[in-house]
């Protein structure tokens, strides 16, 4: 079976590395971006099966990335999981209004749970 490609847009390199290594061992192909601008570019060129997106990012924040990815014909249907440590009502509402598939608070979720969520969205058993 072909490996599903995921794009991680995360500026914290420790978190990015831990998440990507875990997901690689779970059989995914991983692409990473460290800021919002690079993230949008990679979303357009790589056309990943799913994007894991941080909110607080340099150059362009997660909300802007979300808006641009949703506005582009070629990427508008890609599921986007917001991974952040913000978690107030206004953050969640804004993310869902802009078209995020779901919203996970990093400090509350294990890598195993993030992976389970990704698999659930991509319908992988």
């Amino acid at each position: 079976m072909e490996k599903k490609k995921l794009l991680i847009i995360e500026d914290d390199l420790v978190l990015q590395k831990a998440l990507s290594e875990y997901l690689i061992t779970e059989g995914f192909e991983i692409k990473c971006a460290e800021d919002g601008e690079e993230g949008v570019k990679m979303a357009l060129t790589e056309k990943p099966a799913l994007i894991l997106l941080d909110i607080v990012l340099p150059k362009k924040d997660g909300y802007a990335v979300l808006t641009e990815v949703r506005a582009n014909e070629g990427t508008k249907n890609i599921p986007i999981v917001l991974l952040t440590n913000l978690g107030s009502i206004s953050d969640v509402e804004k993310a869902l209004e802009l078209g995020a598939t779901t919203y996970l608070v990093k400090a509350d979720y294990k890598l195993e749970e993030v992976t389970a969520k990704v698999k659930e969205i991509l319908n992988i058993k």
């Binding site: 914290d12 978690g87 107030s88 206004s90 969640v92 990093k106 509350d108 294990k110």
Partner: protein, 324 residues
């Protein structure tokens, strides 16, 4: 319960008010209102005396003006105090919120790296090394929970606590909570008994946060038993609500503290207070989560006999099932 005597007592307990608001006694609104009342009485008497003894309208006008200036000054002090307190509270809440967010990043880094090491790269680690890593994992979990509690309190104070409501089987949730607490109960020689008279009880609520409430009540029940004891958990359907009762035969809550136990940072002065750790935030958060979920939380307790903590959440209705 509305307690008039207590309300009057609180109104005149200026020292307590000053401590709560973080201002001097003379700055408390109650003190300033009392002074204002006395000034009004004195002024009315004074003006009566002045007008009875002097026919000159100028004297009456000057005395009335002086009273108005005095009242205006006191009123201004009250407004300034209230503004200062509100500002300090806002700054405190914002500080806790920012500090907690900043703390969450290193906590996430620790948690994810430990998990990666233990689950994916544990080959070559000795038994002792794995044991130490597990200890570190538990400590980081504990730190994460503390930060979450502080952040939740800040969000509750700002009216920003987000609930991710979905249809959840309440019985499964209660069973999972009991399972997760069994190890702590066993370690303390406490029997944990569950009784659920239904298999399925669908509620429309935030699964994670409801688990926090259940874990909190069960772990409190376990913590506050001195020696051997029993904790019973009853789940039932009561008039369109899923209702839980967590009963223990522990030290109970002293009667004079029962009105305060859901307050922020409040810890009861019971016999084993110093032997149990806690921040006094758990019940405050639990009560707010339940109330925001459309339910209520209450308790009955007798000192040295035990406590019964109850909460209820509304059952899911058809329309919400479609939305979820």
């Amino acid at each position: 319960m509305f307690n008039l005597k207590q309300r009057v007592y609180d109104e005149f307990n200026l020292k307590k008010q000053a401590d709560e608001l973080g201002v001097s006694v003379w700055q408390t609104p109650s003190f300033l209102f009392i002074i204002m009342g006395l000034v009004i009485i004195a002024a009315m008497t004074g003006i009566y005396v002045v007008s009875a003894h002097y026919d000159s309208p100028e004297v009456v006008v000057i005395s009335e003006s002086l009273v108005v200036i005095l009242l205006f000054t006191i009123g201004n002090s009250i407004i300034r105090t209230v503004e200062e307190v509100a500002k300090a509270n806002k700054m405190k809440t914002e500080f806790v919120s920012i500090a907690s967010h900043q703390l969450k990043t290193p906590i996430s880094e620790m948690k994810w790296q430990i998990e990666l090491l233990l689950i994916k790269f544990s080959t070559g680690l000795s038994v002792r090394q794995t044991e130490i890593m597990n200890e570190i994992a538990r400590s980081s979990e504990k730190m994460g929970r503390l930060v979450n509690d502080l952040l939740d309190v800040a969000r509750i104070d700002q009216g920003q606590l987000a609930l991710d409501k979905k249809n959840v089987n309440f019985c499964d949730l209660a069973n999972d909570s009991v399972e997760s607490q069994k190890i702590f109960a066993k370690a303390r020689n406490i029997e944990l008994v569950t009784s659920c008279n239904v298999d399925k009880l669908m509620v429309f609520a935030d699964k994670r946060r409801l688990s926090v409430v259940l874990d909190n009540l069960i772990s409190n029940a376990i913590k506050y038993i001195d020696g051997k004891g029993k904790v019973e958990i009853f789940v039932e359907n009561v008039d369109g609500f899923a209702q839980v009762c967590v009963r223990d035969d522990g030290v109970g809550i002293p009667k004079n503290e029962q009105d305060n136990i859901a307050e922020k940072f409040f810890r009861s002065n019971n016999s084993i207070k110093n032997r149990t750790d806690g921040t006094g935030l758990g019940l405050y958060i639990a009560k707010n989560i339940i109330e925001q979920s459309g339910g209520k939380l209450w308790f009955k307790s007798i000192e040295n006999v035990g406590s019964e903590f109850y909460f209820s959440v509304p059952l899911a209705i058809e329309k919400e099932t479609v939305v979820a």
